[in-house]
Amino acid sequence: MVPSYVAASYECSTGESFLTAKASRSLEELLAAWGISCHEFRGQSQVTIPAVKFVESMKQLRDEAGFDMLSDVTVADLLEYGGEDRYRVVYQLVNITTGKRLEVRVLVNDPEPKLPSMYYLWRSADWLEREAYDMFGIVFEGHPNPKRLLMPEEFQSFPLRKDYPLKGRGERHNFPVITRAES
């Protein structure tokens, strides 16, 4: 199930390949156009994007602001913070030409935390999103291979959520015992 934005995903809005196009707008212009401000924390720029405008915003960041590398996808479980939203999915974008980095945050919620997959914009999202699904249960729609990456495929829980205990619920020892006489 390929999402609708795939058709022109590797081309920029201007029509050239995004690998050779220069950044046409700066990050500040884009943020001003969206009406969001950029938050600085310890030398790192962070932006929180609403989930409804997620795909267009990421595409504009890649095509126009020149962030051509997705270096990390991770999730923070805000369960114990007592706020409204539970999962903060974080994307680390890098502009390879200027070396500028940007952290993009999106908030998703239970009971079905899901986001469109960024696989068609940045290929590195392939395993990064699989890991985020494996550890937190965030479903990335349109991902071509939505399987668990680290835990075994039949594992039922999402281990890095805050309500999953560190030592597990007994899954690690649920195997047959082999004695010496029978082997």
């Binding site: 560190l166 597990g168 007994g170 649920n174 195997f175 082999i178 010496r180 082997s183």
Partner: protein, 200 residues
């Protein structure tokens, strides 16, 4: 099982010259199957290297196929995804075979008491010699091989009948008290729909 009828539990062990000869041959040619998953594997490699040469004691080659080995050295932490592989490799080794569990992680899970790491392979595999350490020095690994050799020379038989008596697992129980408590008293979930499968 062909050969002279030896009932070790009834008669005790009485050793023939053939047993002693077989034990000598087997002990002095223990070819390891290096089941190296983590840092202890590096230490195992350095034990086999030239400075602390393991082949002095008969472990001439490390065959990476279990069909040609008689000693499995589990070196490193074993995760729950790897444990069925470990059991399959153990079952593929031909008799007589022995197992050494090297390092803290293979013996007890080490520092990694988490949802993914098996707390000691002796819960699921029969282990003969344990080597503590994180990682154990090569000299400790050599001492374990020597202990293994002494054990074979003391209790081995030519038809490998001493293994049939070990029908009870000697490691800790699969689910010990703390784990049973944790399973029976789960942390209350706030997200009740935690085990859905995605509809793609």
């Amino acid at each position: 099982m062909a050969g002279p009828a030896v009932n070790p539990t009834k008669d005790g062990f009485f050793f023939t010259q053939l047993d002693a000869a077989a034990n000598w041959a087997r002990a002095n040619s223990l070819w390891p199957m290096p089941f190296a998953t983590a840092c202890c594997g590096i230490e195992l490699m350095s034990t086999a290297a030239s400075k602390h040469d393991l082949s002095r004691f008969g472990s001439e080659v490390m065959r990476f196929t279990p069909r040609q080995c008689d000693l499995m050295i589990v070196a490193g932490r074993v995760v729950m995804k790897m444990l069925p592989v470990l059991q399959r490799i153990w079952l593929q080794m031909p008799e007589p075979k022995w197992c050494i569990s090297m390092g803290a992680c293979a013996c007890t899970g080490g520092v990694f008491d988490t949802y993914a790491v098996v707390q000691g392979v002796d819960r699921f595999i029969p282990v003969d010699v344990y080597i503590p350490g994180c990682p154990p020095r090569p000299e400790q690994v050599i001492k374990a091989i020597l202990d293994m050799q002494a054990q074979i020379k003391k209790t081995g038989t030519v038809w490998a009948s001493e293994f049939a008596a070990r029908s009870v697992a000697t490691g800790p129980a699969r689910f010990d008290g703390e784990e049973v408590y944790r399973i029976k008293n789960p942390v209350p979930l706030t997200n009740k729909d935690i085990t859905y499968t995605p509809k793609h």
